[in-house]
Symmetry: C2
Subunit: 118 residues, 2 copies
DNA sequence: TCACCATTTCAACTTATTTTGAAACAACAT
DNA sequence: ATGTTGTTTCAAAATAAGTTGAAATGGTGA
């Protein structure tokens, strides 16, 4: 049997915050964690991050995005990634004649702004 | 043959920014994109995000992290995720007697602060 | 109508990430 | 030394994400 089970300074700091329970209470719930980590997930691919950065500069149709990020990638690949950004709510697209113009949502702009700080 | 190949307002805006070339120039290089997206990748898992949030509240040893995020997960699983956060440079660990106390790095704190805005 | 262009969808495939359980390591107490 | 606790490592299995090429959709102009 031991008196001290964890390092004393840590235990003391921890108690001041209401102990394990106190810290637990400050953390988001399951839903919230999933939602937020999904945004990170969407930006966790270099190509998608690049697409976001381009769209923040300027709303663009898919074919221009392609020209900018890499003229050699396949259309289906590009579409796949754009779709992830759209489903996550980071961008939205609007049809203009033959083209679909994508631009960042408010969330998308926030996220990219944030990316610049890392 | 057509005169207009892309929506006029977009083309005009785009020209003002130096066209495709101009936008391209503003985007980060491959290395930079990879580095940044990796940070997002690390935070793209709800468990890891939760661990980060807990550590920002209070530096903790692994066993306390476990108590907080989910007492039922296996040690190896927890270790795997902690390791990803460490390798990405979001947290650092220091041995104190029997325990290893983890705490967020400067980058880790920044990243979490940012997470709160999404 | 037809051919054409931009974009998306689909299913098969490849690759990357996560989970598991057992074993190893490290520090400490007896 | 031995046993105990905290933590990591490893390889195998399970799951998820990304890529590919072909086919489909939907708008446009002849």
């Amino acid at each position: 049997m031991m008196a001290i089970e964890i390092p004393e300074p840590i235990r003391a700091q921890c108690e001041k915050k209401g102990g394990i329970k106190g810290i637990k209470k400050k953390l988001p719930g399951k839903r919230d964690l999933e939602k937020r980590s999904q945004v990170f997930q969407a930006l966790s691919d270099p190509l998608r991050l690049n697409i976001m950065l381009a769209l923040v500069e300027q709303p663009l149709c898919v074919c221009m995005v392609k020209d900018i990020v890499n003229p050699k990638i396949s259309d289906s690949k590009l579409s796949y990634h754009i779709n992830i950004l759209k489903d996550t709510g980071l961008i939205k697209g609007e049809r203009k004649a033959s083209w679909i113009i994508y631009e960042p949502t408010r969330l998308g702009k926030e996220a990219v702004k944030v990316a610049g700080k890392l």
